[in-house]
Point group: C2
Chain length 302, copies 2
């Protein structure tokens, strides 16, 4: 195999014909993890579990009433969409809204959640210091017609397409509806965050316009996924509105389609360390738009 | 609404612009259900449950060894497929085999299963007398790429497209692999067999060539499905190889896609009462091919 041109980058990807799986080079929990001074920091045992498994599920991070209010706001925002615009992604072959991006900047209610200490304190603890919102979005998986999302590591994309240097970010998925067995809940591969899977092939121009609907590049190989599942299995944490999943930025995840009559609406907020702000992408394409990868960094003050 | 032209047929469908849900006119269990003389007949309580819920799940109808042998045979058959031929259905947009039909006639091993008294006795008990195989198939839902199958009642299709007169047939799905939460197991709507949902619109010519890959006609409305699920919920019976599900021919069922590395391969056998053999279709199209709806009736002798 030819030597990759970006030899200094431990997380190169999409330059070779074959996939590779390598150990991550970064810690999972940055700093001492003590969380001292953070009211909502995870207790030691939960922190250890996050470190080992790559995720932490909370039954009621928000109350059901809070989740209901956010759901109403999310539905109001989706209903007010008037055709294509930046930050609005629709289902393949339809105008149904699949995702609304950057709601932490465009909407006061979602901004308030993103700055809530129940969330931010955990991010600060895990990432070892101050954080900002790298990305936020509402993911709608409509009843009957919500499509699947194939397995992927967010970090692989963020590194190659957005220029996130290290694995020092954490995602949070907050259920605004029930997430149950039948409406396409998030599935994760425990422990997969320990492994970086280099994907095959080059990234086409303006890839993001398609990839947010149906991923074709930055997709881990079937062989890699088979190995990761053989080691860690698959889990689909479920829960009531307000239940939440913190997951490490390199954890493999995906979700099946939604054939049920139950919509599945989740709020995603990605916290990144202030010391890990995006630089030029590590792939060979220009950076994606700001609504996908925040570049006007605003440290969170709580 | 205009009077339907096929007024004598209680199960008309696909002729109007609106959907309708009506009570079924046929018994679920035909005859006295005693099953006397049938060694493997269901005990009274299980029979009652089938009558009420529309299905009966068995943890180990076949042994794991029997299932493994059939799986090997199924994989051998799929690997021997050399391009399109009658009874071979591939995944949308690929050549991966999705279904192999009429295996009860083309293959000795599958013929033997279809004639096994553990299966046939239950069918005879439920249908009140002698039965034959209306349809058999192996459904492959390949790892990673197996597609979903939207909700449907088999009977609606068999009545309209194949000419099955009454609801006097029972399907049996035998797991040849594990059926788990992640590989797209069969989902059923308990009690939906009590309701006949008339579907919207006309059936296009040679519809079956597409419908076996992706259903577009004979699809129950979203509203109908919402009502049925509100009443009965959704269940996805799971199990080891050899576990099996008997389900009534009018029970709404479907399955999500398979994103997991675990293939899901099931053997389907449909038993129909000898007194319910297919006549001319109740829709306005010519009957579908024999591999979909047996017309050379061969009563089962055990």
């Amino acid at each position: 195999m030819a030597q990759p041109t970006t030899i200094a980058d431990p997380y190169w990807s999409r330059t070779e014909h074959d996939w590779q799986a390598v150990d991550r080079e970064d810690p999972v929990v940055w700093g001492d993890g003590s969380g001292s001074g953070f009211e909502y920091a995870l207790p030691r045992e939960q922190l250890k579990s996050f470190e080992n498994e790559g995720f932490h599920h909370v039954d009621a991070l928000l109350s059901e009433a809070e989740a209901a209010e956010l759901l109403a706001e999310a539905d109001r925002l989706a209903a007010s969409v008037k055709g294509p615009s930046p930050g609005v992604v629709t289902e393949p072959q339809s105008d149904v809204v699949r995702s609304l991006f950057r709601v932490h900047r465009s909407n006061q209610k979602f901004r308030a959640v993103a700055h809530d200490r129940r969330l931010v304190d955990v991010a600060r603890q895990l990432l070892g210091g101050e954080v900002y919102v790298h990305q936020s979005r509402i993911n709608f998986k409509p009843a009957f017609d919500g499509r699947e999302f194939f397995w992927h590591s967010d970090f692989e994309t963020w590194h190659i397409e957005d220029g996130m240097p290290r694995m020092r970010a954490v995602s949070l998925s907050i259920s605004l509806t029930d997430n149950n067995e039948f409406n396409g809940p998030l599935m994760v591969i425990p422990r997969s965050h320990q492994t970086y899977v280099r994907c095959v092939g080059a990234t086409p121009e303006n890839h993001f316009e398609q990839s947010l609907r149906r991923q074709e590049y930055g997709v881990p190989s079937r062989e890699a996924m088979t190995q990761l599942v053989a080691r860690g299995g698959i889990l689909a944490p479920k829960g009531r509105p307000g239940s939440s999943l913190f997951f490490e930025c390199n954890l493999m995840h995906g979700s099946a389609g939604n054939l049920s009559p139950f919509p599945r609406t989740n709020l995603f907020i990605v916290y990144n360390s202030l010391e890990n702000a995006c630089v030029d992408p590590f792939g060979d394409r220009p950076p994606r738009p700001d609504y996908l990868a925040e570049r006007e960094i605003e440290p969170i003050v709580t």
